[in-house]
Structures are given as C-alpha cells and as structure tokens.
Amino acid sequence: MSGEASPREVLEKYVERLKQLLPREAIVDIKVKGKDKVYVEVKREYLPEVLEKVYWELGGYLSSMVGTDDRNIDSHYRLYYIISIEEDIRHLQWKPWIVVYTKVPWDDPSFKSTTPKVPAASWYEREVKDLLGLEPIGHPDPRRLALPDDWPEGLYPMRKDFKFYERPPRQPKPYMFRPEKVSEGIVQIPMSPIHALADEPSQFRLFVDGERIVDVDYRMFYVFRGLEKLAEERFTYNQTAFLAERVCGICGYAHSTAYCEAVEDALDIEVPERAEYIRTIMLEVERLHSHMLNLGIACHLTAFDWGFMELFRIREKIMKIAEILSGGRKTYGMNLVGGVRRDIPRDKAKKVIELLKTVREEFKRAIDIITSNELFVRRCEGVGILPKKVARALSVVGPLVRGSGIPRDVRYDHPYAAYKYIRVKPAVESGCDVLSRLMVRAREVLDALDIVEHALDQLPGGPILNEEKIELVEYAKGIGYDEAPRGENVHFVVIGKDSRVHKWRVRAATYNNWPALPYMSRDYTITDFPLIVASLDPCYSCTERVVIVDVKSGKTVTVSYARLVHLSRKVSQNPTHTPQLL
C-alpha cells in the first residue's frame, strides 16, 4: 500500500506516545524488537495504571499474559502483558504489539491486580496465581482457575523447581460456586462436566428464576494437561511443534503454526515464501472444516438436522482435501521451526482446486436453504446478545467479536505467513447475536475457499524449509500468533538451554471468549443455553449430565444431555412451548 506509514514509523510514533502517556517514574526501559513489537519494562507498583492507559487510551486488546519463573537468571519472576494495538489504526497493515512487563522479586511474589481496571486480565491473573504462586492483590475473584480442587496448597507446578513427573498427594476441597445472586425463588442448575467427545469439559452452574437464566458461573480446566511443562522439561524444539498440534482437537494446526512463528520470531529465522503459502493453505483448510462443523452443530441444536447432515457431507470433502495435501485427515504434522516439511506437488494442487469448486457450489446452496428456513433464523435471532462494549472490555476474539461489530482479525491486523501477500477483509456482522456469529462463519467459509484456491494457484517456487543452522540465543523472547477458526491464538516463547524452551505459553482463542459467557446468557432461557454455548464454538457435548437443584427443598433432578438437546429442539418447533424441567 502506497502512502502508508512504514511499520518502523508507526512503531516510533507509539514509543513517543508511550513516553508521553506513562508517568516518567514508572518506565524502567523501552526496547523495540523486530518491525512491530515494543517491550516496555515498568515498575511493579505502576502495573495497573500503565496497563489501563495502554488498554483504554492507546486502543489495545489484551492478547495474552505470561508469568515466567526466571529465578535461575536474576532471582525474579516476570509478568508479560501482551497487548495488540488495534483501535483507531485499523486501516494500517502493520499494527504494533506492546508488551508491558514487570519484575516480581522471588521473596515477595505478589503484584497489584490489573483486573479492576482491565477486566480482560481476570483469567490470566488467576492462572498465574495457581501455577506460579504470584498473588494478584485486589483481584475481585481470587478462586482457583487452572489447578484441580484437590491440588495441595502452596505447590506451584509451573515453577522451575517442580518436575513434570511429580505426583503430589490429593487434598480434597470443594469448589465454591459464587452464590452472588441466589435469593428467594432462584434455582441453581449445575451442568457437570465430562463428556468423552467434548474438546473442553467444563461445569456450568445456572442460576435460574423459572426458565429465565439470572446468572452463570463455571468451573473449567478439567483437562489441564501441563503440555507446556512437558515441552519445557522433556521435548526439543522440533518435537514441540508436534506437541503443539495436540493442544486442540479441531484447530491444532493453528497452534503448531503459532508455536513455530514464536520460535522464528525469537531467533529471527526467515521462513521461505513457499512455506508461508503452504502454511496459509493448511490454516484455511482447517478453518473450512471447523466452521462447517460449528454451523452443522447449530443446525442440529435447532432441530434442523437436514442442515447438519448436508454440512457434514460437504465437510467430508474438506477432510479429503486435507488428506491429499498433508497425508492426514486431521493432524497435518507439516510444521517445523523454519518452514514446512511437506511440499504440494502441482498435480495434487489441481486435484484440490477441482474439489474446491464443487464444495463452493454445494456450500452456497446449503447456506441458502438454511438461512431461508424461518424456524432456524427465528431461533437464532436476538439470542445470546453480546454487547459491543462487553466484547471490547473482555478482549473477545474470533467470530464472537466480529459478530458484535468489531472488525478484529489477526489475518488482517497483524498479517503473518502469506496473509502479507493475500489481504483478508474481516467478515463483520452487527447483530451481536447467535445468528450474526453463524453468518460470520458462513462468510468466512466462502473467503477461505477463495484463499485456498488463490494460494494453490499462485504457489511460489523455492525451498520449503530454512535449513541453515539455527543459532540459539538464550532467553530470547518471541511472540507467535495466528487466526484459528475460533479466533486469535497467541504463543509466547522464551528460548532456553539444551534446545528446549525456557517458557512456552499457549493461549487458545476460547480462553478469551469464555468469560463472556455469563453476559451472553443472562435473561435467556435454559433451552437457549446450549445454542449460546455452541455459538461460542467450544464444547457442545460437555453438558452431558444436568443436575437441577431446588435450593429451597433440596430436591435434585437429573436430566440427561440428550433430554436437554431434545428440549432445545422442541422449542424451535413450537416457540410457545414451555418445557417443564422440575
């Protein structure tokens, strides 16, 4: 783009603004890294103030927060708040990342919580408290987040002196769901947790007044597997690329790409153009199958099974495309640090382009029929509204934020891989409801089809892997990011010794989206809840078992997941029907 400020100029402008905006005594150090990153070290006591200014006044979104145990380097812990500056400069191609970090001394592991000023930081600070033992002072909700309830007090698994094979004895302790709004006539409904098919089991507690949801509380992290710990202590760089692909069952490739990008960013490794294109192609193929799955599930939950079946039939062709391109239907295993492992031959590309044509035609027809179905539209319209203001405050990502009218898309905001050459316009809808999110996904499917076809057609020549010897720079930091089907994934890597990472922090898209759930579900009915959860695109099958507790009489009724889905579907067939749960 001509006439646009160069990334360096934009970055310098922001460094100037930072210096003006922040109190002089707060800043310890400002360093520019690469073409779009600023690392700002601040004093511990100024953290909330600085973060508030960067978040609200510079127009930042909190992308990730990482706590590292650097006691072996300089007897300190470090906290990195990774902020993506987007507002007011949406039109620029290179938007800056501002990393605000602070040191926490080993003998006083606490810091002032930023959550009261920046609500998006809530989960991150609870996690740092659980895993590293850094106490966020003044956090409004200091309950456990990541560790199981029976994990012993005072043992912090992400500290370096805890080894990955340690199995501490259990100390059972109940988790306190928030009784905040329980008053006369309010009933609590726990929807508890495990289903073998769920990608994220979680327990929801619905506070209902009749059929109306008053509040929602949740307990997650039943499947906290400690992958990061494993990578830090056991795996080498290239092995971790495969481990990263196992972070998620649906968008694993996006994680593996983000991990490789983080290491490449830390060590300034150049990726050949052909490898960038191949990564882009695979990322979009992944988006295609994930979005079709989600749209299909939405149809299923609204009792429109034709849509579910038809979308899954089309999705099967996408799985075939993945198989042709990568040799595997779901785990592509293509990434290494410095490029990709598998080339796309010309004849395969042609075969895929042929398949894409039929997919496009069939998908357009299916979506046309689905959206012209009044029952489906009425069921999704005006349900699960997430106001723009809440979305902004919680730094929500992916189709969820785009459905609420904010054009956030990493592919556009911070172009990585081949999105530098192929520009993507974010698909935005302004309805803020379930329907808007579904429409965003439908539009992105069509965009993704175009991108894959274009990239396969324009695939540049050259090598696919940078095979130069990698010079490991100890404690170099890198950020990798990409737009997974569910939203932005951010990986943070600190390079360590013995070709292992010193710190690897995975931030999956849903991490930023979950805290929005209570805001989306209030004032809707229990039967809307599965649909609202599904529109977030996390786990639809995790509501395996629903126990309904009447607080006054202590009466318990167990409702199966199948029955809940049945009720949800019944409402679409007969909107005046009020199901009797108790």
Binding site: I324, S326, G328, G333
Partner: protein
C-alpha cells in the same frame, strides 16, 4: 417454500454414506499410515528414535546379549513421518495402513534386533551394530581422500577404550620419531 426446495434438493442427492467396513475405505496414495521397518536394510543407528516426537521409537543397546534393540509401539505413534524423513538408509517408510485396532499393547509392538559389532583388539562389544560399522567402512573406502580414510577405516572397528589407548600409543610413537 424452503421446505419444498429442500425435499427436491435432497431427493436428487441420493445416499452419501460409505458402507464401511464392508467396503474398504480408499485413502490417498500419499496417506500417512503405519510406519513399517525394513529390518534387512536398517543399521540400528537410532536417528529415528532421536527425532520421534511421540518417543514411541526406542533404541537400546544390550551388552549382555550383544544386540542393539529397535522397538516401535504403534499405540503411541502419531504418524508424522519424521522417522522416514531422517533415516539415512531409507529403512523405514509409512504405509497406507490405518486400521490398527488390537487387544493388547504387545500386539502393537514391533521389535528388531541387530548384532553388535565387536572390537578388533579386545573382542568386547562396540556401541554400534555390525551393519553400522560396515556402512561406515564402505563410505570411508569410497571417499576421495583414499589413503587417510583407509587408515581411518581400521579404527572404526575398535571400542572406545582400545581406540583411546591406540591413539595414545600412535601419538607416543610419532613424538618419539619426531
């Protein structure tokens, strides 16, 4: 209105399901399935074990029996083809086989054993297999730096201990001679 279109469209579609397992499921010719080792080619060097992200390929040296044992357990395999990529003699290759259900872990384990080479001097076992030694000698003989390499080829069949004392001896001779 939409309902009529739907019925009309679906009736033209026909059956979409595949009658698996009655009819085999065809996979692409470059599909990544079960890795198969050609034990007649393998030299037991352990490059695959080093690269394996799932750590399902293991290579151990058994000095008592005098073998180098190569093991793969398919229940942990992630079919990534890293082993195929790093193999110096193309002994391992991914097949297109994906139906791997079995009753026990033993049924999914494949073991290959390679005889260890022995030291030309003290006759104790080397750290590498006979084939590994042979390959190294063959490569050295083919090398352009003929004389030095032929000389070096002699040392490859020595255990570390003998090699060390051999070199010290040679060094001593050389310094005395000089």
């Amino acid at each position: 209105m939409s309902f009529i279109r739907l019925v009309e469209y679906s009736s033209r579609r026909g059956v979409a399901t595949h009658p698996y397992p009655e009819k085999p499921f065809e996979v692409d010719e470059l599909y990544r399935g079960r890795p198969v080792l050609d034990a007649s080619v393998c030299i037991g060097c352990g490059a695959c074990a080093n690269a394996c992200p799932a750590e399902t390929i293991r290579v151990e040296t058994d000095y008592e029996k005098g073998v180098r044992r190569w093991t793969i357990c398919y229940d942990r395999c992630i079919f990534c083809a890293r082993c195929q990529e790093v193999c110096p003699v193309n002994a391992i290759e991914l097949s297109r086989e994906f139906e791997l259900a079995a009753r026990s872990r033993e049924d999914l384990t494949v073991v290959a054993e390679f005889k260890l080479g022995s030291c030309a001097k003290c006759n104790s076992y080397l750290d590498v297999s006979i084939r590994h030694v042979e390959l190294a000698q063959k490569l050295l003989e083919k090398s352009e730096l003929v004389n030095i390499m032929r000389e070096l080829a002699k040392y490859t069949v020595m255990c570390m201990k003998c090699r060390r004392s051999f070199f010290v001896e040679k060094l001593g001779e050389a310094t005395r001679g000089g």
